[in-house]
Amino acid sequence: MLDLPARISDSLLLLIEAQRAVAHLVIDDAQRLVQAGGRLEHYGLCGLEIGSLASDQIPLLEGMLPLAETPFLIRSMAMPSGRIADVHFFADEGTVWVLLLDVTAEHDEAQLVQQKAYDMTLLSQREARLIAQLEATNDQLKRTHRELAASQDALQLTHDRLQAELRDAERYVRAVLPAPMSQPFEVDWRFVPSTELGGDSFGYHWLDDEHFAIYLIDVCGHGVGSALLTVAVANTLRSEALPRTDFREPSQVLAALNEAYPMERHGELFSTVWYGVYEPASGNLRYATAGHPSPIVLSGGQARALDASGPCIGIVPMAKFAQVQCKLNLPARLFVFSDGAYEIARPDGSMMELPDLMQTLSQAPASGQSELDHVLQVAREAHGPGALEDDFTIIKLAL
């Protein structure tokens, strides 16, 4: 204890009492309020009844008495008036003294500091959680990236294998095409599929010493399905493998083909076919068409289309096909082609048409260039850069 003169210690007490708004409560061992004084109204403790149970009137005392330790301090307690008090408990000869000292200013200052510290801590905790989430997301992304890369490798392998198989198939499609010939008349062709596997195929061969068959097939669509069907049809015609059919009679051939390749049994695919038989001895050409573009004959400086009509192969069961015969005035050049040889979309959206092809064929190509290369060049120039949209096939017989 400070050994202060009474005058000084009294002054000190007066100073504390003035600055801290001291109030006091005294409670007996029966927990009744026996005395109350000082600045009670400063803390909102008004109307206290001496002699009544203290904790009924002053909630902060609930459970606190009897004292387990003395002195005992509760720091910064909010009082009913809104002031903040340090609450001091002292045991004294059967009674408990409760002293209230105002610490509102210190409390408010501490609250400001604590508020800033907690705000910072909460922010840093949140930042740490966000960083952890970002890292977890990053890890997940890396895993996904690795899985994607593995999938891409597997896809690339599959793609390479399929490409190799498609190249094999394309080689086969080309391998079954007949070679150009020059005797006793010239036959040449150009074949440019729009994709690696197209729907066009063709063939020509001697049926006997007097009859030469020529045919062109255009299966709707492109790709593996169309290529398989067009090769099958071409092989059927090449091997003359249609029952009860005279291959010298085009109408019979197309009718038999129509029965052999109905679209409902061939992947909903149908085809256009032109089939003709030429007799060199007489100069006669018999032909029939199944929805195919009319061939063009150039003879005596004139170009004409060999018109005929008939439904596409595979659409109409039991269909009949008209057969046309004409005599060719030699020398003549016969061009058989698919619609891809002239239905070319120009960059401006307009389309080339059959008369354009006839005009091209009527023009003499540049010196040294074959007629077929000239037609292909015109088509490519009309189309512009990139692959043609449709298969380009044209056969020329120079008779």
Partner: protein, 164 residues
């Protein structure tokens, strides 16, 4: 009238004061205002038809440098341990406080409130840890001082426990 002292304890910023304000005054504010010291409220509730006055001690939260003064719980009939469901570390603070209370004061009824249940997208408590504490006798309630979800029910449940 039966009068019971109960305390709210937990880490700072978990929503102790907001839960009291929601329960006593039916209000909520999004503004965070830290508690320094102690604030006492009184609310009369009914337990099995009998009125019970709850003397609610809202005690400043625990942080890294200042621990909750367990001696403030002297005479408390029970307590609510409050956890912020979006901050897993506050569950461990609650576990630490509960251990000290049991060691210094002895066993007393308590309920752990997993507060801020409205922040579903930010919920971060590990179910395994909750199961582990449940196995130790903890009982949990998901509360939201913001929406009021399970707030009155939690105080009523503790009141029923302490009024026995």
């Amino acid at each position: 009238m039966l009068q019971k002292k109960i305390c709210l304890l937990g880490a700072f910023g978990v929503g102790k004061t907001s839960l009291v304000r929601r329960y006593v005054d039916t209000i909520f504010s999004d503004t965070y205002l830290t508690t320094v010291g102690v604030k006492i409220d009184k609310k009369v509730t009914a337990v099995a038809g009998e009125e019970v006055a709850l003397i609610i001690w809202d005690i400043a939260g625990e942080d890294a440098v200042s621990a909750v003064r367990v001696s403030y719980l002297r005479g408390a009939a029970g307590y609510l341990l409050v956890v912020d469901g979006t901050r897993p570390e506050t569950l461990e603070t609650a576990a630490s406080i509960q251990g000290r209370i049991t060691a210094e004061i002895g066993a007393a009824p308590f309920i752990a409130l997993l507060n801020k249940a409205d922040l579903v997208d930010d919920w971060a408590l590990a179910p395994e840890r909750l199961q582990q504490l449940e196995a130790e006798g903890w009982r949990f309630r998901r509360t939201s001082a913001k929406t009021g979800d399970a707030v009155n029910e939690s105080f009523a449940e503790l009141a029923a426990l302490v009024a026995k």
